[in-house]
Symmetry: C3
């Protein structure tokens, strides 16, 4: 019995019994056959008490200690539970399936673009994320009134289809100074620090150690040992980036308040305050500072060892490389 | 009995019995005469129990079901209540009056600049917004010590004259990814998404569908179907914008990390990373890319169909239009 | 008995009894001898009940009413307590010592760079800051599962070595619209407003009245009556600023989305959207708008009365001054 992924989740219903969100403490990818069999064909219905007890027993028998432990405790709690098994990687067709996939990304079981998230915006409901948990939007006013009449305030921290990641999982080896800015579905690589001005959308993130003080848009993935400066921007495919999927290689430095509209290779630098879009015309300089040619930034996508700056006297956007003029010319022409 | 607006609110006092804030679940503008009469001349004093009961009865008789329902429940709760009736639109002269006006904006009863908010900064007290509700600033340290001694932390999320909108109202049809960045008094039009980097001040907002990933300063209003890119800036009249009230028309696109210091008409674009201030000198290009003239951006305010970019080779700020040179010249001269 | 600083704190342990954080309601600098004697050589061990009672008595006898009052109440609470006395200003060698120093900054007992914080990153543990207080990172998953099984959500608002300041102290005379963006260890001068987009790192801040809508990086200190525009950036010594410590003088205006990589004197302006790094070549203009010379911004550090802009026609970064050409030339040459 092969399977793509599975999870046992505890979640929240609206007053009609529909799923608003699901928390999977132990999502599994490519599970062993015995476990896959337990979850085969399950989801997205809410488990009955007897189903939950059977499932807990089956998880114990399948030998997944973490999952079994959670299943046993979940069976004793009186909360909405769901078990879901995905036989293959398909577009999510339910809230529990969508949340399982978002968990897989944030648990680092898959990297951005490695799991099918097609149509996730239409699957996920807009939810009010509050100090009392997830609340259906149309039930929010009554909940707010009730809290006030009790002398309390219902803190509404987010009104969105995606919750913040840290209320679901904080992967090991990271710092996230302000968690409201990292969505569930972000992939935050080990050794990553996301400062207060940093942001990571779902299906996006950093592969390994990184300093993130800028915005990683949906779909953008950044290689190890790169630094996204304060307030810097990466264009998302959802907004302005068009069809090009932006990425940043290893050992790159995107300066503060800079911006990126093309994929970068390794060891690239964009000076602080400079926004490079695909259409930016760039003066290519060789290692001697001589102009080689002028080309659109679009044609430099994926190249390594580039440094972008705006000449502060002429106003021209320039691109330097640490290669010699000969090597650069060879590489430039190789990409033509 | 004509009236401008009214509300029945539940709020918070400091230890001297002064208002810190008021929550109005059902603010009313231009109420029917029967209801207006109930609220005539009321406010800002705290209602006594008997006054509250009389008011609840009167609201029932006046036939406003929502308000009556709230009044009945409020009468049963032991919380500070206030009823306020504003006969006309005047500068707010009390905390309850100021909060009623902020609610009117966020409930979309009035648009930015449509209600008189003169002097609101001097009316509103600075408040610590905490996990235990609004706390007077000078009472905060004692509350923090008490919480710690109980083994708890008093979460202080905001120290400001204006609270966040979402703890008062979330108007229908919006997403607000990070609610701390939208102040009460913001007008968030139906179909608006405010992303994590978006911000909306009071007396400002979006008329209809919009994607807001930049900052809408106090007083700035944006037309439908416009997009404020990540980290983009609109100058507020409170800070640097001078006397010009900045606005954005319909179908505009302000790029990521761009900025705006003049009002824009419809279908305008500012390229990512470019800041247009009133004093920016702009090279006007016609539809053939030929230079028409050079003028200050100030003189382009309110015009439609403009695209601003910085020429990445010459460093000059340029403005293109989709009109022909003849039309453009005609329009430019018409504005002289 | 001379002493540098002392504090009585209430804090949080991980499950091994190690300090995660400490809250000092009344940190003292250069305490009187009687009080210093009480705290001499103390810390960082957790106080026993009898030690706490003795300490409370001693604080009463030493005549520090605030501290005595807190000590008495703390002795009655069943929480982890620590007393610490620092005989001199040294690099912090324990979590309680590090937190005392961060409190001293935020209580305005010392200004940025006035207390030794060497090695603080290695002393402070990474902590999950939650709605249930500080939680050790490796204990977080179990706490999250438990909360969910109870039908609650453990709100994780920050995963970082530094907590937000406002949960420890809100110094008098400030507004902080979004407290998650001001770290404990920030120095927030009286009269400072930190707007939603503002940020202040530890060992950094504003001396007096200020409007902060941009980012004050670690180590950066800003003089009175200066304005940091929305989204503006100051380079930190930790990231990109190299060895130069960035500062901003009095009466400066850093425009929205602008950036600063050199220390500024008084009355300086950087236009919105312009990033000045140390290496930026700047065309110096005299009071008549004539070019004086071209020099690196690095060589202008600390000078007053400068206005930086990018010429929107030529693309060149220019620096104007309100001094005459003669004065300017004299000053420029004096700095050579």
């Amino acid at each position: 019995m092969a399977a793509y992924a599975l999870g046992l989740g505890i979640g929240t219903h609206n007053s009609k019994g529909e799923w608003l969100e699901v928390f999977y403490p132990h999502p599994r990818m490519h599970p062993p056959a015995a476990l896959a069999e337990v979850f085969e064909g399950r989801g997205p219905d809410t488990l009955t008490d007897s189903e939950t007890e059977e499932l807990a027993t089956a998880c114990v028998e399948a030998g997944d200690v973490q999952l079994a432990d959670f299943a046993i405790r979940a069976a004793a709690a009186d909360r909405p539970l769901v078990a879901i098994g995905l036989s293959e990687d398909r577009a999510p067709d339910s809230v529990p399936a969508a949340y399982l996939k978002l968990h897989m990304l944030s648990h680092r079981l898959v990297k951005p673009h490695e799991t099918d998230l097609s149509g996730i915006f239409s699957i996920l409901p807009n939810v009010a994320w509050t100090s009392e948990g997830a609340v259906a939007i149309d039930e929010l006013p009554a909940r707010q009134h009730d809290a006030r009449l009790r002398g309390e305030v219902l803190e509404v921290s987010c009104v969105d289809k995606f919750p913040k990641m840290s209320n679901y999982v904080v992967p090991p080896g990271v710092r996230i100074a302000h968690t409201a800015r990292v969505r569930l579905g972000a992939y935050v690589g080990e050794g990553t620090t996301v400062m207060h001005e940093g942001f990571i959308n779902f299906n996006a993130g950093s592969e390994g150690p990184a300093m993130i003080e800028g915005r990683i848009s949906a779909g953008v993935f950044m290689g190890s040992d790169s630094d996204l400066g304060g307030g810097s921007s990466t264009m998302g495919t959802l907004s302005g980036g068009g069809n090009i999927i932006i990425s940043v290689g290893k050992n790159c430095l995107i300066g503060a308040n800079a911006g990126l509209g093309i994929p970068l290779g390794d060891r690239c630098t964009i000076e602080s305050g400079l926004y490079i879009t695909a259409g930016t015309k760039v003066v290519m300089l060789d290692a001697n500072g001589e102009t080689v040619e002028t080309r659109a930034a679009r044609s430099l996508q994926g190249m390594s060892d580039l440094l972008f700056r705006r000449n502060s006297l002429s106003g021209a956007v320039e691109c330097l490389t640490n290669k010699t003029a000969v090597e650069l010319n060879a590489e430039l022409h190789a990409h033509n």
